[in-house]
Amino acid sequence: MPIIEVKDLSKIFGRHAKKATKYLDEGLSKEEILAKTGNTVGVNRASFDVEEGEIFVIMGLSGSGKSTLVRLINRLIEPTEGSVYIDGEDLAKIDKQKLREVRRQKLSMVFQRFALFPHRTIMENAEFGLEVQGVDKEERQKKAKESLEMVGLGDYIQQFPGQLSGGMQQRVGLARALANDPEVLLMDEAFSALDPLIRKEMQDELLELQESMKKTILFITHDLDEALRIGDRIALMKDGRIVQIGTPEEILVNPANEYVEKFVEDVDRSKVLTAEHIMKRPETVDVEKHGPRTALERMRKEGLSSIYVTDAKRNLHGYVTADDVAEAAKNEEKSLKTILRSEVPQVQKGTSMQEIFTIIHDAPVPVAVVEEGKLLGIIVRGSVLAALAGNEVNVNENNS
């Protein structure tokens, strides 16, 4: 069962918001509703599930409603319509007392501008959630210290937030959220206020922490690179609507519509795409069945200067070059085994394009994508460039 289930969640700002929801059902756009009723649509019937332990990224430009959406989930903003189920309980319907319990036990939030309490020390900030719950001093200090140490701030507990740098302040924000030991972390543009180098460092650290803590994280961002970097799945928002939900690869490779396509246009694809996405079906010869003549024939037909050699089970044996094959054919040799070259440039399915660059640069032949000794596909320079340019790679297309 998903830990968070959002169903047809809508938020309309302004008077008579309930009335305007019927226009949502009629499928009117944000602008049309604004013109008709004077109400602003924050979130338009969003639905998604978040599984336990995943990092679910909600990504969109400013004004797309992503910050509103995350606030609807812990009800900092009251939803106009729809449901938010946390562990199967509809948050939109529970009373204040119960809502407080859920906020204390299950949800913690990290804010864009840190939102640390300036009059409290780092320690007191980290303690806040537990203090509010009425946990006794000794225990809450112990837990707060643990979570501060987890983010690498164990030595700063007596400082005030104003004395720390932005990156350190956000670590405190993270420690404050973690001290509660919540089931779900809501991170609202948590790294957006940090400069790029620190941001990347924080992303790495979050991923590293996630390895050990396995929280469910709902991460809001306007930065697609960030979304692709840390998200297990990404929901793209536009004008309050969720346009597409998918893994980073799905979004890059199969944009749901023009908007998503435009969005992903500028992405540094080399960071996201892996060998699997750009490999092609290889032309091969069978080391048991085929001799130099067949190989030569195939290479001539396809215009290749080399060809991979496998067996019937597609186990990779190596490759042969056109020159060697021609020589062997002339000498009337029957087998390819004597001229087989086994030093194959190879990568895994999940190897990133950045790594492929360096390998392909030095490779005399197309790079082989191998899994457990079996040849899955090959990568040629052309397909790498095509993928970077954003063109789809047809897996069945032959290499040229």
Partner: protein, 283 residues
């Protein structure tokens, strides 16, 4: 030609005051008697029993420490107080000080909760704002009239009139201070599941402390400015000496007493300002 005859507003107010005086006589009498005795005890039985030299030394020491061990405020306090003593105005100073302390204390006790209430509710804010404007712009003398009706003459009506005049800044600044707490911090507090009270005491009030203290400082200054006016209805203190100077056309007497008020004002102002520091502010 008058279409609408003169409205008997003055009569209405007089009648209302009279009714209040009669109805709450038991309460007013109680305040007048017991509270009056308490104030008197505080001024004469307590403050004036302290040896003057000790008083001056203690104030000097406090000044030294709260001003961050600088000599300016210390020197001013010691010399100023010595001067008042030298002018044989010490009992008057103590009475004035008592009036200011009680008026300010009551103003703050009333003002802060009202300010909080105002910050929590838009309706309350829209009702209280014009009332506060009214309280501050109505000439302070006017408050003396019901004060006398309720409490006759002496220190108690003086404190009463001062409280009405001096409360608004505390209410306003408390309201302002709480409303100024950034939205994100309120969200953070809510997101961690604080109750309304926890939010108020752990986030809003500590964050608003500086602004509230500025308001209290204003309140104290306004209370002090009522000293002369309150002495017209028999509140003892430096104000009375000023009035005496006025009635007898003795410029010198009035000036010296006025100077005493100024010295007291500066000392109180600097003291309250120096106490106004916030944690986590140093960076």
């Amino acid at each position: 030609m008058k279409i609408i005859p003169k409205l008997p507003v003055a009569e209405w107010v007089s009648a209302a005051t009279e009714w209040t005086t009669d109805t709450f006589e038991f309460l007013f009498d109680f305040i007048k008697e017991d509270f009056g005795r308490f104030i008197e005890f505080f001024a004469e039985g307590l403050l004036m029993e302290i040896p003057i030299w000790l008083f001056i030394v203690v104030i000097g020491l406090i000044a030294f420490f709260i001003s961050g061990k600088r000599i300016g405020l210390t020197a001013f306090s010691v010399i100023g107080l010595w001067f008042i003593q030298n002018q044989e105005l010490w009992p008057e100073l103590m009475n004035t000080f008592t009036l200011v302390v009680f008026a300010s204390l009551i103003s703050v006790i009333i003002g802060v909760p009202f300010g909080i209430w105002m910050a929590k509710s838009k309706v309350v804010q829209s009702i209280l704002t014009p009332i506060l404007d009214f309280m501050q712009t109505m000439p302070a003398f006017v408050y003396l009239i019901p004060a006398v009706a309720f409490f006759s003459i002496g220190m108690v009506p003086g404190v009463f009139a001062s409280v009405i005049f001096a409360t608004p800044p505390t209410v306003r600044f408390t309201n302002l201070g709480i409303r100024q707490v950034s939205h994100e911090l309120i969200e953070a507090s809510d997101a961690f599941g604080t109750t309304g009270m926890q939010k108020l005491f752990k986030v809003q009030l500590p964050m608003a402390k500086k602004t509230i203290m500025a308001g209290i400082n204003q309140t104290v200054m306004l209370a002090l400015s009522m000293v002369v006016i309150a002495s017209m209805i028999g509140a003892k203190g430096l104000g009375q000496t000023v009035i005496t100077g006025l009635q007898r056309a003795e410029v010198g007497t009035g000036f010296v007493a006025g100077l005493g008020i100024v010295i007291l004002a500066i000392i109180i102002d600097r003291f309250t300002q120096n106490l106004n520091t916030q944690r986590g502010d140093q960076a």
